[in-house]
Symmetry: C2
Amino acid sequence: MSEEKEVTIYDIARHLNISATTVSRGLKDHPTINIKTRRKIAEAARQLGYRSNTFASSLRSKRTQTLGVIVPRLNSNFMSSVLAGMENAASREGYNLIIAQSLERADKEMDNAQTMFNKRVDGLLVSLAYGTESIRHFDDFFSRKIPVIFFDRVAVHPESTSIIIDNHAAAYQVTQHLIEQGCKRIMHLGGNMALNVYSERLRGYKQALRDHKIAFDEKLVLTGNLSEDFGASTAAHILQLKHKERPDAVFSANDTAAVYCMIALKQAGLSIPKDIAFAGFNNDPISKVIEPNLTTVNYPGYNMGQAAVNTLASHLNGETSITDTNTIVLRSELIVRDSSQKNIPSR
Amino acid sequence: MSEEKEVTIYDIARHLNISATTVSRGLKDHPTINIKTRRKIAEAARQLGYRSNTFASSLRSKRTQTLGVIVPRLNSNFMSSVLAGMENAASREGYNLIIAQSLERADKEMDNAQTMFNKRVDGLLVSLAYGTESIRHFDDFFSRKIPVIFFDRVAVHPESTSIIIDNHAAAYQVTQHLIEQGCKRIMHLGGNMALNVYSERLRGYKQALRDHKIAFDEKLVLTGNLSEDFGASTAAHILQLKHKERPDAVFSANDTAAVYCMIALKQAGLSIPKDIAFAGFNNDPISKVIEPNLTTVNYPGYNMGQAAVNTLASHLNGETSITDTNTIVLRSELIVRDSSQKNIPSR
């Protein structure tokens, strides 16, 4: 085993014949140190093999080998896959996970962040709450160079990386697929448009309509909490529309709303996909059980969890830096099933 | 607010005019302290209002306000509900949760336990892995009086409490319900019989048959991993049986196997519940989507998670002791849906 000693700011200070405080400030890009000196310090740090993360962590007393995870809700199919992937990667990298749920509330997310900070986590993984409008409550982390990674529901910050799927492209693909099946009045069921995941899906839907010369009709976009009840009430809304105003397809931003809308429409005697085609999002287990099986987008929760932890670990090991990376986009895929295929005989 | 000071071993030592070391050892029932002295110490501790849990935690440097959670897999519908309940209770009680998954392997569970121990968790919540045959790897916790609570998949230990549902009674109820529908050849799909949850369900099934004078037929019990594939292959097995050997009902120990068995049988032209009635276990989201909807047992994961953390917190606060409680049994309920109702016209 290598016995090589870790290079410290004192080694850099000795090398440059300046004070350790100056080195420390220089590495932080502190404005009181002039640019030339900052450059000299950075060069010496590189030459001597100083690891920047050592610096970041030396701001606190010691590493805890613990990562904090804040999610809106633990009990969702997607989030449990994410957590499983995170735990797998974390245990391989020698980290423990501390978990907390915001219950979609900004105030609880603030509390969670404070708790994680006090627990001295080495890094933080966050999927933002429905109610979150600012990410100022993570400032303590940013100012102390404790890395924060946002995943799925993300916010842009210069010192953070976001891990997402290309929601715009996925929604575009779904909508285009429905258009190719001959659908012209495609309804979109969306969530809170303040969240990137839902606003991007709406944008992708609109773009596909535009590219296929289909006029966008505001009345065909319904937003809500995408619950079972929302799905059922959407069906009731569709049924009371005049025939020529009815959609010939529904693209829902999750599977739950799509499935419960289908169930209610089937009970009312409509045939799927003949009367109305359906597509969802997430590839939840229910999408393979509903009849006809639901066309959907496979959302790689497990991979997203692994990628988030691996990125954080690699930053903490000083191998890569999350301040260099803005966004990591994971592959998602359209899974075409019977609920959207108008061109084949119904089974 | 009360300003009363916590009673320490030094108070007891002064009171009895002996050394604090003797008090500490006496409270630990250390063999080097004679029985009479141990009794005197215990009495003084009671008189002065010394809290035993303070003692337990004083064995370690300090409380971490952290609870460890070890589960077989994070990505299951049941476990994500449990975790959500745990997080809710933990955050109310001021504890953080560290999570780990054993991936059903005993060796990983041992590693997890060691990690949690090194992280100095104040208490441990465990649902045992498929492969676990002994709980010796929790001895470090027991010997240091760090409370361990088993939930769902449990093991008996004098210093631990188990939190479960009455699997025997639930399975009895399901089987009796199927018998009341006129079923006489009821197949049971079970899991690893080394685990309490599955062995108890088998026992409940057998007891109900016995009480209704139906002979137990070994050939009607299939065990496996209760996956989608297991459900589908069970259907293939049923279809190749001679007509009079076919079951007229299937009671599966989870919903997944029941649902995928139903899907395959329906594809083969069988009618449910007319030809074969079905019942599952867990009340997973798919049970409300399969047609006909699946009769099942509602498994209160969220409540189980809350109860486990509340019990642990109450022990750590010195309000109750888990060494006094052997088992906490939560209510589950039979949810009768169309898949098992032979006596009503099929919809």
